[in-house]
Amino acid sequence: VSQPGRPLPVPDDRSREFWAAAAAHSLVLACCARCATFSHPPGAVCPHCGSIDPAFEFLPVDGSGSVRSWTVIRQSFLAGFDTPFVLVDVELSAQPDLRLIGRLVDGPDAPLHLGAPVRVTFEDVAPGVSVPAFVLEPVS
């Protein structure tokens, strides 16, 4: 799925563990050590308990979720993306209202509806750099 030229994330103190895990195709998210609640993206203050020292731990989360919305990008303002492609707004099952936005690798013709089940996958975009994306769960 490699698309050379896509903008690459620049890990920093708040995101290093997230991107390191992504490179190994594992989804980890920041969990506040004070209130044991995930927040994404992690910030200076825990949005749940207000701690200014959330001491975030990056814990693996179940990568399943449901589609809350979507769009098809037919003209990208960013370089490196082949169009069209689909973006989905996903509520992860790990915690209510915990959201990730990513590409749906099934492509623009995939049938979508609110609540459609998806699970996380990863796109390898450069050596050592992978980006979370989603794939539709097969209809059971």
Binding site: T71, V72, S76, F77, L87, L100, R103
Partner: protein, 400 residues
Amino acid sequence: MSGRMPSSNRVAVVGFAQSQVERHAASTLGALAVTTARRAIADAGLGPKDVDGFVTASLFPSAGAHAAVDGVSLVSANWLAAHLGLNPAYAAGFQGFGQLPGAVSLAVNAVVSGAADYVLVHRALHNPKGAYHANPMTEARGEQQWTVPQGYFGPLAMMALTYTEYLERYGAAREAMAAVVVEARKNGSRIPWSYWHTRPISADEYLSQPMVTDPICRLDCDLPVDGVACFVFTSAERARDLPHRPVFVAGYAAGAPIRHRLPLHWPLDDVMDVGMQTARRLWDRSGIGPAEVDLPQVYDGFSPFVYLWMESLSLCPVGEAHRVVLEGGIDSDRRGALPVLSGGGALGNGRMHGVPQMLECYLQLSGRAGERQRPGVSVGVACHSSPHYGGAVVYSAEPF
């Protein structure tokens, strides 16, 4: 605080000027701002030296890689005052969303507090050469690292997610949005300074547009332009001595998202939950209820905002705006309809960021709308930005 603002109806708009709205103006944005400011000050029956307060929100709303240069791509309050040769007692810029209601709130506060007697509020918008939002970044740092590597970037994708949610949840049809865009362009086509003057469109033209960012097509987006608008504010007392009928600021309100989100992530529930809070705050502070508003002017920088503001302001039930629109409920030429885009909005004028809404309230309530004058209008609401990030101002023809 709660209840009616002590400043309600104590400050008024007493003059205005609006430049021609063009794709690319012949002069620099700064020069256009100076010219427009001089016209507005004269329109208010004042001289430049009378103006002792300058307020704006100077944001250059491009996601592209263009430089933001004062006097060229944006115009700050300080820049404008300096280039009018003035040393004002008060100059301020509003930071954040809902730029125009935010700037109006600063102007009202400055007049009521006595920080300034006559405040010029301006808004200057620039359309740079080249693609407006295109950004050649190869690295995504800071907040952008969470969304840009996935290809989620810019306001179209942001709005598209919110709009998909609306369409799916309420079963709205694209034909309804055609009615919104046709209405905006119809009204804009009647406004001499509008970029779209004499250029209405048909529903078929809208419906035949290709998608850019599903379900958003080009005609759902306002067009980037060069344009400047200025308004002069002063106290209700001083307004009595000036040539035009004053239009009073009955109240204003703004809001801010309460949920922690990814950059540019605007779930429908976030928009509406905070939008309803902002509307309650607006009615409470202005002493006006939605049923008393005869000139609601909703923001439409992206067409879906029309539904979101109509519903936030309780002009119709939540989830019903698309039906109201489809049944002709916002047709400004129809008796009994809600003329929510009578001023043409951003879709009918160009990307003037809340100016068309405010200007329509001023022109109609001061009786200066000329051939477009609507009879018997008394209370207007001018909205800007998203209901959950932006704000709104209630204007009144009488100081009730």
